[in-house]
Symmetry: C2
Subunit: 284 residues, 2 copies
Amino acid sequence: MKVTVGLIQMTSLEDPAKNLQKAIAKIRRAANRGARVICLQELFRTRYFCQSRNRRFFDLAESISGPTIKVLSMIAREKKVVLIAPLFEQSPNGAYHNSAVVMDADGVPMGIYRKTHIPDEPRYYEKFYFKPGNLGFPVFKTRYGRFGVLICWDQWFPEAARIAALKGAEILFYPAAIGWYQAEPRQLAESELQKWEIVQRGHAVANALYVASVNRVGREGQLVFWGNSFVADPSGNVIARATRNKEQILLAECDLSQLKKVRQAWPFFRDRRPGIYQTLTGKR
Amino acid sequence: MKVTVGLIQMTSLEDPAKNLQKAIAKIRRAANRGARVICLQELFRTRYFCQSRNRRFFDLAESISGPTIKVLSMIAREKKVVLIAPLFEQSPNGAYHNSAVVMDADGVPMGIYRKTHIPDEPRYYEKFYFKPGNLGFPVFKTRYGRFGVLICWDQWFPEAARIAALKGAEILFYPAAIGWYQAEPRQLAESELQKWEIVQRGHAVANALYVASVNRVGREGQLVFWGNSFVADPSGNVIARATRNKEQILLAECDLSQLKKVRQAWPFFRDRRPGIYQTLTGKR
């Protein structure tokens, strides 16, 4: 019931092929160091192109049966690891999504999550590129545990975390691409990083599960990605945290047998009142 | 748009009349020091009697038109403050609730919240005493702002905070009675206090509102109530925090005009997807 999670925090190069090669090398290293579930950062194959609106970037998209997932499947099988690989996805009907593919430890893709909540802010023009997810909040029953995957902006929505928990997630993975605007005042910057961490640790507590968040580092255009990939346990304790500016393979052991104990001691799921939560699903 | 909140963190005596007198004195003092919205702790009039199951404690209950709310209404009017007063409530139909009455600054009771999520743990046998709330999650439009009131165990449920936010709450008040079991190992105790704070700061961030939590102090029976009443701003920063073992009037200035700015910069409410949150209201 113990599983070591590996989060791959990277900088991103201009050339997608080089990012893929770098990710593969790091996946192998993480696996060799004991990771059994490995998660890459959001849109790991490319720079964070959403800083501008430019149609040519649509050419970076791939289908889930494309070459990236093919090669990663082989790596997952080779290293016997569960692999969570974000993908700029072109769907069969030609829509584009900000997605993540989950491969089981035999290398077989189990399914896909498509980012549900799409931001659209200065330097994060994601509504231009991505159709909001239409596959709900799947939980993947892998060889090493039941995992939910949510992506970046989803981090701020308690609804997404809760639904994944209700569907049985033991670890919630959050691949992200979040950073500071280069001109941001230091105090504001610190406050933003802190609220990003707090809200996710809150999800860990409220849902009595592990949260594993993996963010990129490095400067790209006007953004300085803030790294700080971390794993929080079901009590909200940060059990592993990466630096803010260096590439890092962050490993953390998650004891999934703890969840049952925490949920016995803190039985939130017994006392939920779904019958009076209609406002959450209402039109407003 | 700036309002000073006053949280009354107290020990509790055996005699309800003395607790009421103490609370009134502290309300006056808080008002004199500038508080415009004053919140008392959960079941402030009595000891935390839920440590055992004993029918005689039902005699401690009062109706919302009983003497406690009558006198507090007069104080609210006298000091021109909004007053949030928890009450062990006997409803007209004879059911008992763990409630809170909100009085506007003219002293008129605006309505009542009845605790929705009822715990039932060793030393917190609340399901024996309290019928779960049946009035939803009202938000009170007072002279000094729109306030939601949730009570203790509600703190752990993101659904409750979100619904109050969707209904317009600018500050969420959480009267509480939470503490350590006397025999609890120190490390566990610290972890529990931390997760209590984290989950509520998470609500502040996710809903871009202020959270004001007021807890009792002192030892009663086997429990040592942990105080630590606090106010968090919409970025999750703790802007005021009380001690863990002393009576305290905690004051914090909340700038409600900030909410609009925070919500413009972090437009979570734009990007919610209520159409795909059905799992939250489903039977499970």
